[in-house]
Symmetry: none
DNA sequence: TATCTAATTAGATTATAATCTAATTAGATA
DNA sequence: TATCTAATTAGATTATAATCTAATTAGATA
C-alpha cells in the first residue's frame, strides 16, 4: 500500500466526530439528519465528514426516496487499519546487506545470453535480489493492470505467475482489486 | 479504550513524517540526528514528532553517552491500531470520572422517602447523574413513544416534560418523528 | 411542471499543527 | 569547572481543517 494512502486513512479517522460516526454506523446504517441529531451538529458538518469517510471508502451510501443512508464498510476499515502494521516490512528483519558487486554476480549467474532468467534461485536471499532486479523497470506511483505486469515479467522470465505472486508476498508490490502498484521502498525486504 | 485515546492515536500517526519515522524504527533504533538526516528535516522538527510518538507510547528512548536512541514499541502500536475495530461496542463506559459511591450519594441527596426526586439539581454535573439514573430503566435499541417516556419519567419525577427535554439536549436520547431511543453510551455527556 | 425534503457546496471564521531559526538545556568528558 | 555534543524549547510563519450560516442542488412526488 502507498504511504500516502496509509497517512490519509489515519488523518481521516484521527478526528473525534468521524470516530463517533464510525461508532454509530457500526450498529447499522443511518441517514444524515439522524447522524447530525445524535451528534448535536449541523447537517453541513456531517456532509463534510461523510465526504472524507467516503473518500477513503470506509463509508458508502444508498438512496431510499429522498433520504440517503450511510453504511460502514467494515472490511475496508479493517484492511486500512492493519496497513500500518506492515509499514517498514516484516521481512525487513532479515538484515542482509549485499554489495552491488555481489548482486551483479548473482544476477549474472542466473541470466542466459539473451538477458533472461532460466530459473529462480531456491535461496530466498538470491531470489529477492533477482526480483528486485526485475522490478527496476517499473515506475513508482503508477498503477498496472495484471496483464501489463504479466507481459513485463515475461521479458525476463517465462513463469510470470510465480514472479508476480512473489512480488506481492515479499511486499515489493501491493495488489488491490486486480490493480498492482509498487510499494514505497521502505516496505521492501532486503 | 477511551474515545479520546483512539482519536489521539490516529491523529498522531496521521502524519507523513511520523509514519516515516515509525517505518525507519521498524528495522532498529536510531538517534535523532540519524532520523533527521534520513528524512531531510531539521533536528527540532524531529524532536517535535518524537515527542508526539512518545506521548502515545509508540516510541521510547534509551540514552547512550551523549546520544539518545529511539525505539519503536511494536506491541503498543498494534494494540492502539486495533482499538478502532472495537469502537462502537459497549466498551466505551470508562469515560465516567465520578465513582459509583459519589453517584449514590448525590442521588440519595435528591431523593425523598418514596424514592422520587423532589427537584433537579442546578449543577450540571449532578443533574446529569440524576438523568442517567432515571435512564437505567430504559432499554438500549428499543423505540419508545413520547407517551411511554412521559409515564416512565413520572415514576421518578413530576415534571416529565423538563426531564424528557433534558434527555434529548444532553444526547442521552435521540428523537425522530415523536419516537425516542437511547443513544449509544459513547454519545453521552459527562 | 411546481414544490417538497434531504444533502451538498460556498465562503467565512476560528483553531490546530508542521516546520523553521535561534536560544537554551541535559548530560558527558577532559 | 569549562567545554563539547545532541536534544529540546520558544516563538514566528504558514498551511490545514472543523464548524457554522446561507445558498444551491438532486431527486421524489403531486
Amino acid at each position: 500500500m502507498q504511504l500516502d494512502k496509509i497517512v490519509n486513512f489515519h488523518k481521516t479517522v484521527g478526528d473525534k466526530t468521524r470516530i463517533r460516526i464510525i461508532s454509530l454506523l457500526r450498529s447499522g446504517p443511518l441517514h444524515g439528519q439522524a447522524i447530525a441529531g445524535k451528534l448535536g451538529l449541523k447537517a453541513p458538518t456531517i456532509s463534510h465528514h461523510l465526504k472524507k469517510l467516503k473518500d477513503i471508502d470506509v463509508v458508502y451510501q444508498r438512496r431510499d426516496k429522498n433520504t440517503i443512508y450511510y453504511y460502514l464498510n467494515e472490511s475496508k476499515l479493517e484492511r486500512l487499519t492493519h496497513a500500518i502494521i506492515e509499514v517498514g516490512g516484516n521481512a525487513m528483519n532479515e538484515q542482509y546487506a549485499v554489495s552491488q558487486e555481489e548482486k551483479a554476480k548473482i544476477i549474472q549467474n542466473f541470466t542466459d545470453q539473451t538477458g533472461r532468467f532460466k530459473r529462480l534461485p531456491a535461496q530466498r536471499k538470491k531470489k529477492l535480489i533477482l526480483l528486485e532486479h526485475i522490478l527496476r523497470g517499473l515506475e513508482h506511483g503508477k498503477s498496472y493492470e495484471e496483464k501489463e505486469i504479466n507481459e513485463y515479467i515475461q521479458t525476463y522470465y517465462e513463469d510470470y505467475a510465480t514472479v508476480r505472486r512473489e512480488f506481492v508476498m515479499a511486499h515489493f508490490m501491493y495488489r488491490d482489486n486486480g490493480i498492482y502498484e509498487l510499494n514505497p521502498v521502505e516496505m521492501w525486504p532486503v
